[in-house]
Amino acid sequence: MDPTRHNSTTEIETTVLGADEIILNMGPQHPSTHGVLRVKLKLDGERVAASECIIGYLHRGVEKIAEHRSYQQFAPYVDRMDYVAAVSNGLGYCEAVEKLLGAEAPPRARVVRTILTELQRIASHLVWLGTHALDIGALTPLFYCFREREEILKIFEKYCGARLTTHAFRIGGLQYETYDGFEEEAKRFCDDFAHRIDEYETLLTENRIWLGRTKGVGILSAEDAIALAVSGPVLRASGVKWDIRKAAPYAAYAQYKFEIPVGKTGDTYDRYIVRMEEMRQSRLICLQAIENIPTGAIMARIGKVLKPPPGEVYHAIEAPKGELGYYIVSDGTTQPYRVRVRPPSFINLQAFDKMARGSLVADVVAIIGTIDIVLGEVDR
């Protein structure tokens, strides 16, 4: 038996019998990757051995454009990044530039901004809940969530004419006065939203199959969460009690009482509970805000042409996906010298590999859903 012949058969043995690892491509147009994300999974049988996210399919070079636009002109671009939560993008950018200018929006503008941002948070979480449940197989919650979201979009449309990319705020305050009936409609939405959430909860929370699919899936410990700079509900589900609305209150958040929901084990089920609780808290904030909307000016007195003194500022707000930060460097001209956006989805997505390793293919879909990424923000 010449040795070469021998090991050639053993070599066949390993390839033939040993489960060779399949590289599975969840391509850019996969139905459950929430946009154009490509995930290369190295599968060992059904288990994920390693994963690599390939992004950049929706890269539009927003930061390059910012350097050739004036401050006001760049505001609509900001809405196109996280197109599911456009209002909070706008809030972050406007407040960052106001900080750069050293100006301050009048109290009425700040309260209206808070109401609209909280409504946008509920809408963003509704989109997350609908698509997340759909990925795991429950068809019905999606339609219930989108029915509620329709109400919010109607309010946005009445206020600023657009439903999705709203460009609702201006640097220094608001463009339009609130239409009459704004308070009533917002109040009516908040009132009947309470039992709507219970409706979703009855469908999913105690559902054994939902528990089976989400408990213990995509676990992210608190240390990993901080090390990977994950933010928003994903961080809070891992047990880190941190919310920029409490840590560094902006707009009118200082005036309102609300708790920050925190999870324990940092698995998909905790993230689900944290987000559902957040929707309830946002509803409470809205109700408190609607009670006393101060009267008065809606626009701070800053000139038409904005020429902020040279220097830089980093301002972060609590977007529905996490900490959305703007690092703006100005060189005294009307156009920002550099605008760097800290995208929560981009950084949360990096934690995907740690969560997905060792899980099954079916869990990969659940994990992508639970990180709640929007590719517009990931690719910028």
Binding site: I12, T15, V16, L17
Partner: protein
């Protein structure tokens, strides 16, 4: 009567044809499928002999059970590697000899005609539903061998589980 014989010839030709096809195919899955059609053809012949229970058991056991595992193994193990290695080995003359012997035997049987074996005349009339009879015979007359067989199967199953366990 003629209809029965037509059916019989149809099944017989189907069985022999797919058996030949099975042996000559290069692609493993094709030969597996042809094996399945052979088994189905034999099941058809059982049905013709009014042995309904046997017909159903043949399908469940052979085609539904064993062949599924065959197809499973063929699909899981990518065979193109193995096929390239094993060239058609040169035992063709052994096969030739065997064919000759079988041929001779077949001729002897045909020549001696039906009468040579004391075959019971195949019951033309519809036999009483024999599933029951099979059941009673199995459990009364041959109870002991039935139990031994089940223990044997049990041992085989446990063996398989133990072997698979170590791999996971």
């Amino acid at each position: 009567m003629m209809l029965d014989s037509i059916l019989f010839y149809f099944f017989a030709v189907l069985a022999v044809g797919s058996a030949i096809l099975m042996v000559t195919r290069r692609n493993a899955v094709h030969s597996a499928v042809f094996l399945i059609s052979t088994l189905l053809a034999t099941a058809g012949i059982f049905l013709q002999l009014q042995a309904e229970f046997l017909f159903v058991v043949q399908i469940i056991l052979y085609v539904g059970g064993i062949m599924v595992l065959f197809v499973f193994v063929i699909m899981l193990v990518n065979l193109d590697v193995a096929v390239r290695q094993m060239k058609f080995n040169r035992q063709s003359w052994v096969a030739g000899l065997l064919a000759l012997v079988l041929g001779g035997l077949a001729i002897v049987v045909f020549r001696s005609g039906g009468g040579a074996f004391n075959l019971m005349a195949s019951p033309v009339t519809t036999m009483p539903p024999n599933a029951e009879q099979v059941g009673t015979v199995l459990f009364q007359k041959y109870f002991l061998p039935f139990e031994i067989a089940s223990i044997l199967l049990l041992v085989a199953m446990i063996g398989a589980v133990v072997m698979a366990k170590r791999k996971i």
